[in-house]
């Protein structure tokens, strides 16, 4: 018994020692001579909280722990109020049923996030942005949720683009809000006068890089899915890469190894700690 225990303790000690020694430092220097930006996914990862994300609570955690901002999922209501919500359908995430754009804000605001015990309701974007202190020190990425089943898709896209524009102008944050979306939506947004940095939600293949250059997009937004991404082609053409949803420390490091420019992480804490960018002084509520 004692012998077995000694073996087990020795094994774990060696494992810990190896983990400690195998600390090949990765740099957060970006290809463009600045730093890799770290932002929280859906405000802040839902893995730490009983919170659906896309709320003021999650956004404040991201900005307070040292992240450079956060990502939100945006949609508009029937009366063109910009709201933060991930799914196209209100069910099963909330007590509502049907599409967000079929309801007015007065109706939407009564829907509670169903699976969660807390009293959390859908947040409207301007309410969240009004509560973030020193907002111009942070960056936000809007994953624009455009439902292709929408009967009047072109009009919806135009309304969504204008709602984003109004918000950016209200808070003077046009250069600090990125727009993520399909090529169609990004072009519609450009036609409607949006000056934000546009990120096309595609992989940066040679063909896509050429299209992005022609469309004057700022970069690509893509998921790594446990592989190293080839960012060189895009970088050479001056395009940035935003990688979303690394879920843990290992995936964060893999993303960093890919030389991406922006990491939209589900686990921002581990990567911020690794890069000496974590604010230990802040305690997550």
């Amino acid at each position: 018994m004692r012998f077995k225990l000694t073996i087990i303790i020795s094994f774990f000690s060696i494992l810990l020692l190896f983990q400690r020694c195998n600390n090949d430092p990765l740099s957060d220097n970006s290809y463009f001579g600045t730093k890799v930006m770290i932002i929280g996914h859906r405000g802040f990862s839902t893995k730490y909280l009983k919170n659906p994300g896309n709320t003021i609570e999650t956004a404040l955690i991201s900005t307070n722990i040292g992240a450079d901002g956060c990502e939100f999922d945006v949609q508009i209501t029937k009366d063109t109020v910009l709201v933060l919500f991930h799914d196209f359908d209100l069910h099963p995430m909330t007590t509502g049923n049907g599409k967000v754009y079929n309801y007015t804000w007065e109706e939407i605001k009564t829907f509670k996030y169903y699976p969660f015990e807390n009293n959390i309701y859908i947040n409207r974007a301007d309410s969240v942005f009004s509560q973030i202190p020193n907002i111009q020190n942070y960056y936000f990425s809007f994953d624009c949720k455009v439902d292709l089943e929408n009967e009047d898709l072109n009009q919806y896209e135009a309304k969504l683009a204008r709602a984003i524009q109004r918000l950016c102008e209200q808070y003077h944050i046009t250069q600090h809000v990125f727009i993520e979306g399909s090529e169609d939506f990004l072009l519609t947004a450009k036609r409607n006068g949006l000056k934000n940095k546009m990120f096309w939600m595609q992989e940066p293949t040679e063909e896509n890089v050429q299209i992005a250059v022609n469309d004057s997009f700022f970069g690509f937004s893509c998921q790594l899915k446990n592989k190293i991404l080839n960012t060189k082609i895009a970088h050479k053409k001056g395009l940035r890469i935003m990688a979303y949803s690394p879920k843990n420390f290992y995936e964060n490091k893999l993303t960093l190894k890919s030389n991406v420019d922006i990491i939209q992480s589900d686990d921002p804490i581990s990567i911020l700690k690794y890069l000496n960018r974590y604010n230990y002084n802040y305690i997550i509520p």
Partner: protein, 223 residues
Amino acid sequence: MKHFFISFMLLIIPHILLSQKDSSNKSCIKLNVLSLYNVIFDSKKEIRAGVEFERKINENCSSFHHLDAGLYDQYDFYKYYDFFNEEGGLHYTRQHVTSYGVNLIQGVNYRLPILKKSKRFSYFVSSLIDLHYYWKELKTTNSINDYLIQDSYHQFSGGIGLGIGAKYKISKHFLLEANTNMTATLFSFFNKNENKIAVLDAQWQTANYKLWGISHIQLCYAF
């Protein structure tokens, strides 16, 4: 003043109990391995140790004195601005944080009689007082003008709490102990109100630092 009195009373309770006749005179020294967690898994520098002395009062009761002290925090916190060089170029603020501290937990363990039957395992509940003194230095540099702001804070606070734990007897002299305590603030004195220091040996605490939880995993030598 009343806080001091309560603290004082709680501090001397173990000693009063110790003065009772001790039949077995069994003592135990312990090393807390959980205090090494951050040293291994965090990027901040931490040089500290947690040791405990426990002395049996009678069959069911023992008093303990747990000391955790050292350098709790030494890290840099970089915050970058202007990632796209649009407003004068990338710049940053760097906060160099150093925190030293002493945590003293004193209390009484009471062995749960309902679980006495196991030869190797024993379970206990504790009542305790947790006192801590911290000193923190903050040096903030701005890369734009290399301007340095230096500030230091110190804080003395205490709380009372309850805990539960378990011991596993490995051999005649060696034991493994795990315990966890929940403590609430009783008093707190600090030189700067706006920068309260968190309880540095706590694994969990509320955002207002009023309630905290400390766990220990200890290797014990009994003699």
